[in-house]
């Protein structure tokens, strides 16, 4: 054990403290939480979790979130793949401007665009559907996916393309059977980041849904105001929102760091 490893250890402890507190609260009754301070749950209970898994308004929140996040991730990565290929292999009119313009879409304050988004998606009759949220999240996820994938693709030698074309592969066949498998790691990293930003975003997701596609994060805010402060229940719901992300990050843990190192500025 080296002396300097104390820094990451202290940092990780700092990160885990609020998470521990959330998880600990989720196993307490609301009464215990409000009656005073206790470091560990005194009356350990699964009740908060039972409520969430038996009440459709709760568990549909999770299902809704997972549906639109999945649609968004698939859509973003699918359209970003050919675009990233174009940016990494070809020069074309306006390519640099287009690339920068794509990145600027992360800079617009989402808070302001909530109302126009609501009007736009009402006008095309997609309001309160999973597709609406999935499409809206493309605004910031597609640029990110293009950026990450472009970095990975630039690391693949051009000879691969040329050899394949000489061997008589058509572009679509080359792209799907040879090229994409050769940047698997990049696709994984891009999918991870799309998942992450779509999962944590709330403002647009909340604006574009009412009942049928309401995300879990919005269910939490509604319940907080209607049923008083059900702190234990909220803590359990919050704890459950961490799990999908934790599962996804476990699968891509070895590629995360690499994904950004190869990305271009």
């Amino acid at each position: 054990m080296q002396k300097r490893s104390i820094i990451p250890v202290v940092y990780i402890l700092f990160l885990m403290l609020p998470i521990y507190w959330l998880v600990a609260m989720s196993f307490k009754t609301t009464n215990e939480i409000l009656s005073g301070f206790s470091l560990f749950p005194q009356t350990f209970t699964w009740e908060n979790y039972t409520t969430i898994f038996t009440d459709p308004t709760w568990y549909w929140g999770y299902i809704n979130s997972i549906i639109y996040v999945t649609i968004n991730t698939l859509l973003s990565v699918t359209v970003a793949l050919p675009a990233a290929y174009a940016f990494s292999r070809y020069r074309f009119l306006g390519d640099k401007h287009l690339f920068f313009w794509l990145l600027t879409n992360r800079m617009a304050p989402a808070a302001v665009f909530a109302l126009p988004f609501f009007q736009l998606y009402s006008a095309v009759e997609l309001f309160d559907t999973h597709l609406a949220v999935a499409l809206a999240h493309c605004l910031f996820n597609i640029p990110l996916a293009v950026w990450i994938l472009e970095g990975f693709m630039s690391g693949v030698p051009k000879e691969l393309d040329e050899t394949a074309f000489v061997d008589g592969y058509s572009f679509p066949r080359f792209f799907t059977t040879i090229f994409i498998p050769s940047i698997k790691a990049g696709v994984g990293v891009a999918a991870f980041f799309c998942f992450m930003f779509s999962w944590v975003e709330l403002l647009l997701a909340k604006t574009l849904t009412a009942v049928a596609a309401k995300p879990i994060a919005a269910t939490m805010t509604k319940t907080a105001s209607s049923a008083g402060y059900e702190l234990g229940l909220l803590a359990a719901a919050g704890t459950l929102t961490i799990i999908p992300g934790a599962i996804v990050i476990y699968f891509v843990r070895n590629y995360i760091a690499k994904g950004f190192a190869m990305g271009r500025v």
Binding site: I7, L22, M107, V265
Partner: protein
């Protein structure tokens, strides 16, 4: 070497259409509001650049902008060096690497309003872990709903907790890409730790740090959900950052014209500062 091929546009077209649908139509709606006055019932009157002038002169906007720059400045000054220090002290290989990365990335995967709510219950003076510790164990009078300084410390700490890992991940990615031969050469030359950092590690991390600083700037400048859930902009207006003020104006008071003008000014400032960062940090590459 890239080849010139205009047909590459067809490959980019799906991305262009999807992003343009989401970016241009709402943007034009905002531009449209920003030059008109409405009294409801879909009646609009031409207002010209009046709203812009009003916003640029308003004390309220200046105050919110000042708070926003202070917040973003603090975030960058704390998170970037801290992230680099943590990345430098992380193990380069072994089983602890994935463990560190997964645990560090965890805060970034929590929905933003949950982050706010979590910090809220974490800091409650009598029943939160941190609040109880500060008030009852250390005897510091800490209540962020009363004391503006406590509220500021809390939102900055929350953001450090939430996003420092992004800088760590990026800086770490830059560090592991340095070949061992560089370190061996430095050792032979008898270089100090500082020299290794200054002349090997820092230059190698430059690209990823540019990304980190740009992303942290953009995201902290546009931050809304977490501080809104945590402090609601209070006590008073002390933590009303630009976007919180904007939503108050747009949805609370339904002043669409001024809110739209303010959002475009806001966007222009973000774009301008990002461009400035980008140009300054990539300047050396051009020479």
């Amino acid at each position: 070497m890239k080849t010139e091929n205009q047909r590459a546009w067809f490959l980019v077209l799906p991305v262009l259409l999807l992003v343009a649908f989401n970016a241009l139509i709402p943007m034009m709606t905002v531009v449209n509001y920003s030059v008109q006055e409405t009294f409801g019932d879909n009646l609009f009157f031409w207002e010209g650049l009046g709203w812009y002038e009003q916003i640029l002169r308003s004390e309220r906007f200046h105050a919110a902008l000042g708070r926003q720059f202070l917040f973003t400045g603090l975030i960058l000054v704390i998170e970037v060096p801290l992230g680099i220090i943590i990345a430098l002290s992380m193990p380069r290989q072994g089983i602890w690497v994935p463990v560190c990365l997964v645990l560090m990335a965890l805060p970034m995967l929590i929905p933003w309003n949950v982050v706010g709510a979590m910090w809220n219950i974490f800091t409650l003076p009598d029943i939160g872990l941190l609040g109880y510790f500060l008030n009852h164990t250390l005897g510091i009078n800490y209540d962020m709903t009363q004391d503006p300084l406590a509220a500021w410390i809390t939102i900055v700490t929350m953001d450090v907790w939430h996003w420092t890992s992004l800088v760590v991940l990026l800086a770490y990615a830059g560090l592991v890409s340095i070949p061992d031969a560089y370190y061996q050469a430095a050792k032979i030359d008898g270089a100090s730790n500082w020299a290794v950092f200054r002349f090997i590690q820092l230059p190698k991390m430059k690209n990823v740090l540019t990304i980190a600083i740009l992303l942290r700037f953009m995201d902290s400048f546009n931050i809304y959900t977490e501080p809104f859930v945590l402090t609601g902009g209070g006590p008073g207006n002390s933590t009303t950052l630009l976007s919180i003020d904007l939503v108050k104006m747009a949805l609370g008071q339904f002043d669409l014209g001024p809110a739209a003008a303010m959002s475009l000014i806001y966007f222009a400032i973000t774009l301008g500062v990002s461009w400035l960062f980008y140009t300054l940090m990539t300047r050396d590459d051009l020479n």
